[in-house]
């Protein structure tokens, strides 16, 4: 069953290269997305058996991220919409790379072997790079090159970290042929060499943190998000960087099981707070609304890191926040795609009166902003509050105050930009009011609905899943 989850999108990707028309390619995308979603839903009821001697298995942490990936992919395919008879979009390589990206992200979530996890994350980079260059412009080329080089080098450092993990295990559990299986590492955590383990965690954090977009390693991220097609940016910020976050979390699991959580927490806290602060500073006065959303992703990756570092209920909050952030960023990037299509510019100054010109997208744009800024009644309010509460519970008032002040800074920066875009009269050059295509509104609207529901109450099934995932981070085997 786990194998099918990876093989179906891989094969569909190969078929997409051969598919004769855009309609066939869209059907392949939609069919795969639906099959994937159905399989994942079935796995929520019955946990699949591990495959390949435990290399592939689904734990709560993996399942949580897998569910986010599947949901977002389905909505993105819906957003792309049924092509007209003469449309060439989605193109061959675009459709194939999307499907391969889905396959590799799925592999990341089910990998229980840390070297396999590394290979899977590197594969996500390679599968997603051509998606950035979809518009074939100079700027998108520059973005793709930066993405490829910076992320490849970052991930190469994570490979060093993986080797060091294997080394830390070689003292006690040397008789095992394969020390990098997560279950073995966790079982033997007490016998791991603490010095080597510390070094391993730092390499993993810096390596996967580059791909996750933690400041100051985030330099590729704003360029990529702003130049990639909007549905691709939605997948990147909602699903792909979560996969890198999962890489960091796997390292955290081992370190926490070995009793070194305070050490790792310090590092995560520093990277997290720096990310939020830097994002806040760069959002102020941002002139490109897709770049603004990109910096917001940097901010939220920082919030996730802080939540995990604080421990206790903060880890539950971080898991909830990961879900909320993915939904909100999907909503915002897909809506940003609608704005870009209508206005033909990414400049925050040239877009005015969205609420009047595009009533549906305009409303979603404002709703998305309120959600991402952590306003009630949306889900992010709840998860940020949980993280804040864990800081207060632990008596870390300095961190709580810094966290709140930085969130206020980001709020101020974003609200100025978003509200100015939404309100006012459309300028002379603005697009005429026209009917929006229902597909391009439906996907973001569904995401907005999800955010609203999560803000009002967390369904018990999801609550249990989040608790189990947080328990894994607490050092449970």
């Amino acid at each position: 069953m786990l194998l099918a989850l990876i093989l179906i999108p891989s094969l569909a990707g190969a078929l997409a290269l051969l598919a004769p028309s855009a309609r066939v390619r869209w059907l392949l995308l939609a069919g795969t997305a639906a099959a994937q979603a159905a399989l994942v839903a079935a796995m929520a009821v019955r946990t699949p058996a591990p495959a390949f001697g435990g290399w592939l298995a689904l734990d709560s942490l993996g399942f949580l991220f897998l569910a986010i990936v599947s949901l977002l992919f389905l909505l993105v395919v819906l957003y792309l919409g049924w092509p007209g008879a003469r449309d060439s979009r989605p193109e061959r390589t675009f459709a194939a790379c999307l499907l391969w990206l889905l396959a590799s992200m799925t592999l990341v979530t089910v990998s229980q072997h840390l070297a396999l996890l590394w290979a899977a994350i590197e594969t996500t980079t390679l599968a997603s790079a051509p998606l950035i260059y979809h518009h074939q412009s100079r700027r998108s080329l520059e973005a793709m090159w930066k993405y490829l080089l910076i992320c490849s080098v970052g991930i190469a450092l994570a490979l060093m970290g993986t080797f060091l993990l294997a080394l830390s295990a070689s003292g006690g559990a040397a008789d095992h042929a394969d020390p990098l299986l997560l279950s073995r590492l966790l079982a033997a955590a007490g016998a791991l060499d603490p010095d080597v383990l510390r070094a391993a965690f730092i390499f993993l954090l810096v390596g996967y943190g580059t791909k996750m977009g933690l400041a100051p390693l985030h330099t590729w991220l704003p360029d990529t998000y702003s130049e990639a097609p909007s549905p691709v940016s939605a997948l990147f910020s909602g699903a792909l960087i979560n996969c890198a976050f999962l890489g960091v979390l796997r390292g955290w699991q081992v370190v926490a099981a070995a009793g070194l959580a305070p050490f790792a927490a310090r590092w995560l806290l520093v990277f997290g707070l720096v990310s939020i602060a830097l994002a806040g500073a760069l959002i102020l006065g941002q002139r490109d609304y897709k770049r603004m959303l990109a910096y917001s992703s940097v901010e939220h990756m920082g919030i996730l890191s802080v939540g995990v570092a604080l421990g206790g209920v903060g880890q539950f909050g971080a898991m909830l926040h990961a879900v909320n952030h993915s939904l909100a960023k999907g909503l915002l990037f897909l809506t940003a795609g609608n704005l870009l299509m209508a206005y033909g510019t990414k400049s925050t100054r040239d877009v005015r009166g969205v609420l009047r010109a595009l009533p549906a997208s305009g409303t979603l744009w404002v709703v998305g902003f309120l959600a991402i800024a952590g306003m009630p009644p949306f889900g992010l309010f709840l998860s940020e509050l949980t993280i804040l509460k864990s800081a207060l519970d632990a008596g870390r008032f300095g961190i709580a105050a810094t966290f709140l002040a930085l969130l206020a800074l980001v709020f101020a920066g974003m609200s100025a930009i978003v509200l100015r875009m939404a309100q006012g009269e459309p300028a002379d050059a603005a697009p005429p009011v026209r009917r929006e295509r229902w597909q391009t509104v439906l996907s973001p609207a569904l995401l907005a609905l999800g955010l609203l529901v999560l803000g009002l109450y967390v369904p018990p099934g999801l609550g249990r899943l989040l608790e189990n995932a947080a328990a894994l981070l607490g050092g449970a085997p």
Partner: protein
Amino acid sequence: MVALLEIVLAAVVLVNLAMLGTSRLKSCIRFVGVQGVLIGMAPALAPGWSYGLRPVAMLAIALLIKGFVMPWLLLRAIREAHVRREIEPFLGYTASVLLGAVLTAAAFGFAARLPVAAPAGPPFLPVGVATLLAGTLLMVTRKKAVTQVIGYLVMENGIFLFGQGLGAELPAPVEIGILLDLLVAVFVMGIAMFHINREFDSMAVHQLTELRD
């Protein structure tokens, strides 16, 4: 065998310095191929290597990919893009070689302080770290896209040696997966280089400066 291994590892360091000192892209690519062959055969010379079908097959695959397929892809890329030489780098060639030598010495010093290094064993760790640093130096000081890719490959070579020195033995499927990832990376980067050359009329990445805040 250990003596031979030491010669091979010394050759890896020399190739690092040679790459830092050359402006001809073709030689640079050939050097990275030579380094791929050296690093591919190093595990077989290490004490405790067992001859068997699987290790030999793995070795052959690694040699083929790192020593021949990847250099071939890169050579094809520069032939199609009509580039021969590196342009004025951010750091001169002589200075690069000197800095490379200093970094190599530092790598030996650093590896000696690692809690794991068996002092009498073959110097996998210091050579690995030195190679990693040389690759990083190539990446950050050169302007041509192809040199950056070479730097990335040299970095990966260093990490591979480092892993060897730590005795981190990966299962065969994972090792093949990592090699394939590397191969696809070079392939995708090759395509990107081709497009950069077409769009900017040169393969120099210092022109990629349009995106900023």
